[in-house]
Amino acid sequence: MMYFLLLLSRQGKLRLQKWFTPVTEREKKVTREMTLMVLARPPHSCNFLLWRDLKIVYKRYASLYFCCGLEDQDNELLTLEVLQRYVELLDKYFGNVCELDIIFNFEKKAYFILDEFLVGGEILETSKTAVGIAMEEAETLQEVTHTQSLKCDTCPNISICFFCSLNRQWRSI
């Protein structure tokens, strides 16, 4: 299983972190050491390294480093394909994704796409199209609940309620 997946900027700032095993805040800080090792690697290096007793697989896409920690039995080459697949899913969903997209939409999109692709450190869905379909349907559900909720709670008038306005603003970004 994958123990964690981290997305780092070139300066080492965390853009996304997913931990598939319970880890204290202190232990999370310890992985800083590993991220420094990865960031220091020259280009065209081997994408695998050993850190403590974990296999680390990393791949750089534009300005982001995708790093994950694996168990001994895991297939490193396949993990490279997993990272590739995740980037493709992000790209499809955002349309030419870049680091800023992930930063500004982390809590809505990057994590939700990840949760439709990996669960508990294992691959959930191997089909390219299924993840996209699930995301769209969940988004529809989200909008529907928005419109439904505002009717009963906040404001009777849809057009000026901030929930709807926010919805419309997201679509224009």
Partner: protein, 730 residues
Amino acid sequence: MSPSVRLQEMIRVIRGARTQGEERGVIQRECAAIRAQFRQADNGTRSHNLAKLLYVHMLGYPAHFGQMECVRLIASPRYNEKRVGYLGAMMLLDEKQDASLLITNSIKNDLSHSSQYVQSLALCTLGCMGSAEMCRDLAPEIDRLLRASNSYIKKKAALCAVHIVRKVPELGELFTPASRSLLSEKNHGVLHGAVVLITELCERNPETLEQFRKAVPELVQIMKGLVMSGYSPEHNVAGISDPFLQVRILRLLRILGRNNETASDAVNDLLAQVATNTDSSKTAGSAVLYETVLTVMDIKSESGLRVLAVNILGRFLLNNDRNIRYISMTSLQKIVQTDHNAVQRHRGTIVDCLKDQDASVKRRALELSLALVSAVNIRSLMKELLLFLSSCPPELRAHTTSGIFNAAERYAPSQRWHIDTILHVLTTAGGDVRDETVPNLIQLITTATELHCYTVHKLYRALIADISVQSLVQVACWCIGEYGDLLLRGECEETEPVQVAEDDVLDALETVLQSHMSSPATRGFALTATMKLSTRITHNVDRIRSIVSIYGSCIDVELQQRAVEYNALFKKYDHMRYPALSTTALGPVSSTAGGDLLDLLGGLDVTPGETRSLPPSVIVYEKNGVTLKLQTDRQTDTGMTITLTATNSTDREITSLTLQAAVPKSVQLQMKAPSGDVIPAHGLGQVTQTVLLNNPNKVSLKMRVRVCYTSQDFVCQDTVQIDSFPSPAW
């Protein structure tokens, strides 16, 4: 301003902060606002506030006050709030937090929700952060979902079950029946989840493993279907149909086939098919081939298949892609013990990888090269390893030096080669060798008696070139002290002759003594060596005396003590100087080699004024070309030292020599360590062993000696009885 826009606005402001301090300020303000909002009643902004908090958390700031908010949001009836609540739970509420238990009930309710997306949120969260208690509580629900739901839920339930089994292995039994039936599903997501679940169950329970062996034919079928199927746009990756599923099935087959003939037989054909048909030009194909090779090597596959697998690894070694070379070497490392010859065929390529720029590849190549060293290839391989040592990255140096030493010890073709190799390592990387290297090397030099002249010349040259490497300097000093006479004699068979004057040698040792680069231990070696030379040189004894007396007031206490004792040797015990400082008795050398003076004097029982003459010797054993001589030296009224000397006149060396002695009951016997256990051929060397006897009752002395050795591949054991001793006994 609407709250969610404030989230994006907040992100912009934080990113715009120019200093760490400014960022902290912004975040503190925001967190205060969020905390205030949390305390208020539901105003529709909770999910946005939690989202802001999660961003702050990701930057590394504390966010524990959001935990209860997660619990509340998860319980909300609104989907968007639940979604953020569950996300928050996965980020803030790991099983170590008490609050995590509070969401168990919400999860339970959501698992039976009418909307599959709500169910999926609950499943995902449980599968990522569920504690053992939560797992126990909710396992029956998961089992129900495994059986009766749509594919979207089934695949999530399967991975949730995997997590449960990892946390609470006993619950594996609960999921076994359902997982079996999942193998007949068509949906790849469900199939993948089922294979992962079955793998987990089999790894933890040998009985379950037995049960699932029956599923091997079914798995083979599924795999065949994937390999032979045409192009499927949904699952195709670089020409391979669903490589993720293929790899997991191969891994499961490996576990099922391990140590089991029947299961292994059933998959032989499939593995051969996959190995030959998979296109490995891209990573996806290589990943499948890699897993196939691992499976072939781990189960009881037929030899033809094993050869195919090793060849695939050999092909990988030549691949341009560094990743492929790396994993090839990792796999070869796993099989180097069992399939040694097959891996040896690729030695050339592996050694080439030592020169690769990449640190990971270098490390793998080093490990594998060290594992491939054998008596046959030691000379050529060592050349490569020494070359590697001169340019290897610092983090690998210690490992390389110890690997080289181990290999040299096991397979050295000659003693001279061994000594040369160790000296080469010390000159290249002497700072990265283990502590035991110095005494080990001294031991080695001592036993290589015919090389003493060569060794001391070589070490002297190294010493005058560079005195910064402590280990090398220590050995050099010891050697010069011990064999200084050979050095000064000038001629040497193995190297060009060079005139070394006594002054030059003393200069060198004094340089070491005075240099600030020398450690205290090194100075100790140098001082002792200087002292020892007083018995081996003729003209400069006074110079030695003055050097030694200077150090009598040295700040270093160790050195001072040593110098004072040596001074005493010069003044009061001059007659003992020669016996104390002559060639040291051969035996295990401790790390304080250099000699504590008391040790040297301890064994001797010298009464002042006694003249020493060579005691007579007698041959006590002569057979198979092995001659054992005994010589006695009466020390006191009741004490006697016996020296046994073994020589070998055959043309092959005698190995594993051991001597044992027995004497009458009232006589006390003490056997010192022998000088070695190998007698060189053609009488070119000897092995000596000292025996100390004490005969207080002055009984008639008899001794039985048992001789044991290996000569020309047969082991010989003989016992001799010695009734008469050369010098007047008792």
